[in-house]
């Protein structure tokens, strides 16, 4: 056995946008063990629930993550609605679905860009982010916020989208699709990208399941697990198939995310066609008393909001299990046995968002 050395990786690293620290135990160039440490950006957001009334807390829930903000807010609202047994108007459900899918596209484009950057493919990074700008512009025009939308509330949504705007959004996505195809083509077909990604960081099907991987990470390992299939919001009325790949390597995770954007476009178009008219919110009175686990699919995977109310305006407990926290264990598994030079790519391939992992 050759000598072992420990290399600290992160929390500051050129490819990592997030403060994750890994102690990599190396034998020559091979990683034999990795020990993760988080805890650099713990903000104690869950504790704030004791100081803010539950309708106000939506804005804090949204700030758990700066990328999947809308879905956090929505899941929190679904949790409260679950406890209070509220049936929100159908149109609000559809609007939530549309905004969720926009968030997903914006997050995936952001990730594709960062991933290209991690591979050293600068111009691809900029092209991905240019497309993301279209998505952000639509979000801005409909919700009033680019990244933190603030358009969800307990009992519905806060803004309506006019039908002309909805059509315009759908046709905008249509015209974007061509460029998106070209972009995805580079990720999936370019020989240098393939060379860099194929076979790095393989997560086997069983490992993915038993270690609790979620989102694109588990779908890239051959499971078709997608929380949207539960049918929350309007997903129950729309038809879509989770994107699945079987190889379990970084390339497969990239492929799943890239193809998921087309699913999202399709879902938005279906939703625009089917969206019913009607009110967008309902009056909520009283306070939640009880507990509820709300689940939904974020760009990074399944998120759980556990909400416990005690009959007052202040909740007793709000606990969020974000997808990245669940993906840390699979990450440690796939790091074992890889080359040191592949570590940045592999870490990025699970799309880590440590800020939301720690809340």
């Amino acid at each position: 056995m050759s000598k072992q050395v420990v290399i600290p990786f992160g929390p500051q690293h050129p490819v990592l946008p997030e403060p994750l620290h890994l102690d990599l135990v190396l034998e020559d160039e091979k990683v034999v063990d990795a020990i993760p440490t988080i805890g650099y950006v713990h903000r104690g957001l869950e504790k704030l629930v004791e100081k803010r009334e539950y309708p106000q807390y939506v804005y804090i829930a949204e700030r758990i993550c700066g990328i999947c903000s809308f879905i956090h807010g929505m899941t929190y609202c679904q949790g409260i609605e679950g406890i209070m047994n509220l049936e929100i108007p159908k149109r609000a459900d559809y609007l939530r679905t549309i905004w969720s899918e926009y968030s997903r596209m914006h997050s995936h484009l952001l990730w594709l860009g960062l991933f290209a950057d991690a591979m050293g493919f600068e111009s691809l990074f900029m092209n991905a982010w240019r497309l993301r700008e279209h998505i952000l512009d639509d979000l801005e025009a409909t919700t009033g916020g680019r990244v933190i939308q603030g358009s969800c509330k307990v009992g519905g949504v806060r803004r309506d989208i006019s039908s002309e705007k909805l059509d315009e959004m759908a046709s905008g996505l249509d015209s974007m699709q061509g460029e998106l195809h070209d972009l995805v083509n580079v990720f999936l077909r370019d020989s240098s990208v393939r060379h860099r990604l194929k076979g790095t960081g393989i997560l086997s099907k069983d490992d993915a399941y038993l270690q609790g991987a979620v989102g694109p990470t588990i779908r890239a390992s051959g499971h078709s697990y997608d929380t949207r299939k539960i049918g929350y919001a309007a997903y129950g009325d729309l038809s879509f198939e989770p994107v699945v790949a079987s190889a379990g390597d970084s390339y497969a995770r990239c492929e799943v995310r890239a193809k998921e954007m087309f699913t999202s476009i399709d879902i938005v178009k279906q939703a625009v066609k089917k969206i019913p008219d009607g009110p967008i919110d309902m009056k909520v009175t009283g306070a939640p008393d009880g507990e509820y686990f709300a689940r939904s699919e974020q760009p990074r995977g399944e998120v759980i909001h556990y909400i416990k109310g005690n009959g007052t305006k202040f909740l007793a407990r709000h606990r969020v299990r974000t997808p990245t926290l669940a993906n840390i264990t699979p990450l440690v598994t796939i790091l074992k046995g890889c080359e040191l030079a592949d570590v940045p790519i592999i870490v990025l391939s699970i799309d880590p968002c440590i800020g939301c992992a720690e809340r």
Partner: protein
């Protein structure tokens, strides 16, 4: 909109390992472990999922009691168990990778385990 059924089952510290093992034998995936403080009592929720069927085991313990780790059954439990230890100060014995309180570093020790301090001064007066 479809709302998920919330299946809850109460367990005791003695039956914890047995119930979790039964979940694993049933091919279920560990979704999360989370803790909540209700007065002096801690509730630990172990959530599982299989084919979109969500199930939950609820362990209720008084403060000061040690809880055995389930990371021997599900490795991924170590993340959640370290988190519970660091935020609530509940001793969890035998975690697969035990960070001994350094997983999430906070300036107040066990911030979620203490009763929230009410703000003396309205916070808009602080800069």
């Amino acid at each position: 909109m479809i709302r998920e059924e919330q299946k809850m089952q109460d367990i005791t510290p003695d039956s914890l390992i047995r119930s979790v093992q039964a979940m694993k034998d049933g091919g279920k995936r560990l979704v999360q472990i989370g803790c909540a403080r209700i007065g002096d009592i801690f509730e630990i929720n172990y959530s599982f999922d299989k084919d979109y069927n969500f199930e939950n085991l609820k362990l209720t313990i008084p403060s000061g009691l040690e809880v055995p780790s389930v990371s021997g059954i599900y490795t991924c439990a170590f993340v959640y168990e370290n988190e519970i230890h660091d935020l609530y100060g509940i001793e969890i014995t035998g975690i697969a990778i035990d960070f001994k309180g350094t997983f999430i570093r906070t300036s107040i020790k066990y911030p979620f385990g203490v009763v929230s301090s009410k703000e003396e001064d309205a916070c808009q007066n602080k800069l």
